[in-house]
């Protein structure tokens, strides 16, 4: 008996692409984010991000609140950088209403926002290292240091997550008497914690092998896709809103704007680590300069009614450009209240970044965006 060998016909060799659904309940998607991957073997050929699971009407609700009540909703848009979001909103309302917050309030805001940036980046390192495969260890280190920052925030504001502390015209109440010493203690702990992360991740061959050359974005593409924050700087564009269009009192501090050169996942990680060092620098300078004095503008009314007009205010949040567009019609409620989430634009570039990579690498690319789904969906 002989076995007949024949060449397989063409149609027998055809392969079809398979759709893989990741999320919305998936640990690697950092929240309720769903993506439909089309894979050819293990290579992603198409990606369709599906968002909106977290849509709560965070733009509509403040249109039915007065300006003070709306602050609480900003905490809940970017729940990892609450002070940045509050900062953006109160700066917008102050500019619109022609208020000037006293110096001390501005310094308190900057110190808290920068500490919040460190906390947010630490959260990124914890989650991202878990994506890469450094299970647990980096997560625990990052959260240990983040906890010290959260304790400080709790001593100042009373809350751990949803601070609701900044107000148009200043801050809600003064910081405790030992704020300066406590912040210095926290900074010392952060510095040692950053050394830990540096030693654990940045020279680690496993991390390098997985992150180098992955998801590269050229500077032109990064700008065209509307990327901002560490994503943009990793591509080599030296742009930081704190430096390019200084808001609040950021023109009073010395700090560097770190950039990457390849725009890959590793560069994004590197930029974030460097940014934390720069934030520590800013906080140290701010503590040294912080004056005594009032923390609320004079002559504040109980209900704020900014004159009719509109403003687009933007701040550098840990994830990039966080913007608020407010249209006021002279009443105590904003007529239009639009939030430009940094993650929203960053996430829209995910498809372009991921095509041609392995499925396992797409998870890392997604992690490197550092999305906060509440900010994407609002």
């Amino acid at each position: 008996m002989t076995v007949e060998h024949r060449a397989p016909a063409e149609h027998e060799l055809d392969t079809i692409d398979i759709n893989i659904n990741v999320g919305p309940q998936h640990p690697a998607t950092h929240g309720v984010f769903r993506m439909v991957l089309t894979v050819d073997g293990e290579v992603v050929t198409d990606l369709d991000p599906v968002i909106g699971y977290m849509h709560r009407g965070n733009e509509k609700l403040p249109e039915n609140c007065d300006y003070r009540q709306a602050i609480g909703y900003h905490d809940r848009t970017d729940y990892l950088a609450q002070f940045s979001t509050e900062h953006c909103f109160v700066e917008a309302v102050e500019t619109l209403a022609g208020l000037t917050a006293p110096d001390r309030a501005e310094y308190i805001r900057v110190i808290l926002a920068e500490l919040n940036r460190i906390a947010s980046h630490l959260m990124f390192f914890g989650a991202f290292a878990t994506d890469v495969g450094v299970f647990g260890t980096a997560f625990m280190y990052a959260f240990r240091d983040r906890e010290t920052i959260q304790d400080l925030f709790e001593e100042v504001t009373g809350e751990r997550m949803m601070y609701n502390y900044f107000r148009p015209g200043g801050v809600a109440w003064d910081v405790p008497d030992d704020f300066s010493e406590r912040t210095k203690q926290v900074l010392a702990k952060i510095n040692s914690g950053l050394n830990d992360l540096d030693g654990l991740l940045m020279d680690n061959e496993i991390v390098l092998a997985r992150c180098r050359g992955l998801g590269s974005v050229s500077p032109e593409d990064a700008i065209n896709w509307g990327l901002s924050g560490p994503m943009l700087r990793a591509s080599g564009v030296q742009h930081d809103i704190r430096r390019a269009e200084p808001y609040s009192i950021y023109d009073r501090f010395e700090f560097d704007v770190p950039t990457g050169d390849q725009g890959d996942v590793f560069d994004r990680m590197y930029v974030r680590l460097e940014e934390m060092h720069q934030s520590v620098r800013i906080v140290e300078q701010a503590l040294a300069q912080m004056p005594e004095g009032p923390i609320m503008a004079e002559g504040m009314k109980r209900i704020l009614r900014p004159p009719a007009g509109e403003i687009y205010m933007r701040v550098e949040s840990p994830r990039g450009e966080y913007g608020v567009y407010i249209v006021s019609n002279g009443s105590d409620k904003p007529y239009r209240h639009k939030v430009r989430g940094a993650s929203f634009s960053n996430l829209s570039a995910l498809r372009a970044m991921s095509i041609g990579h392995y499925v396992a690498d797409v998870i890392i690319i997604l992690g490197s965006i550092d999305i906060v789904l509440c900010e994407v969906d609002r």
Binding site: G72, E159, A172, G199, N204, I295, M296
Partner: protein, 180 residues
């Protein structure tokens, strides 16, 4: 290879540090003085009644509409035991809806409401959502029984601008007049 060793050295060093966690239910961290639990009402021990007059200002400023307040004529005022003409009749706070924003404390003219800064203000679990609607006795209990020792009542927000609520001014004047 060197990078891996460096990473290993970092983890080994961390193994000799003191743990930073506590065994929660049996051991509790001390809450900071400003800790913001859910709002509760304060008790006026001098007059033996609530500070709250039921003026509804907190209910109006609440961003999430979690409060229902009514007022009534104060019977003690008629007897001459109290200076409050009106007093709270019913007060409901839906803790399931409250977002602990502290605005009610900020706007209160009588310093009658505070955020609970004891562990009881944050450890709330119930079998039924309905049980999270607190009524007047439940809101007053902690302050009345003396469990709430040192609430955080720093003058805040609007008060810092030097603007004093009218009622407070009147009360202060009344007090001075009464004592003098």
């Amino acid at each position: 290879m060197l990078g891996i060793l460096k990473a290993a050295a970092t983890t080994v060093r961390a193994a000799f540090r003191k743990p930073v966690t506590v065994q929660y239910p049996s051991e509790k961290k001390e809450l900071p003085h400003r800790s913001r639990g859910f709002p509760i009402l304060l008790w006026d021990f001098d007059k033996d009644e609530s500070f709250c007059t039921g003026c509804q200002v907190c209910a109006r400023y609440c961003p999430v509409d979690c409060m229902t307040v009514t007022m009534k004529d104060n019977p003690k005022y008629a007897e001459g035991k109290s200076t409050r003409k009106k007093i709270v009749d019913e007060f409901y706070i839906d803790y399931a809806r409250c977002m602990r924003c502290d605005i009610c404390v900020e706007v209160c003219n009588f310093d009658a409401i505070v955020m609970n800064n004891t562990w009881e203000g944050v450890e709330l679990s119930r079998y039924d959502r309905q049980d999270l609607v607190m009524d007047l006795p439940a809101l007053e209990r902690q302050s009345q029984s003396g469990e709430l020792k040192d609430p955080f009542r720093e003058p805040m927000g609007v008060a810092h601008s030097g603007w004093t609520p009218k009622n407070e001014k009147e009360e202060a004047e009344k007090k001075e007049g009464g004592e003098g």
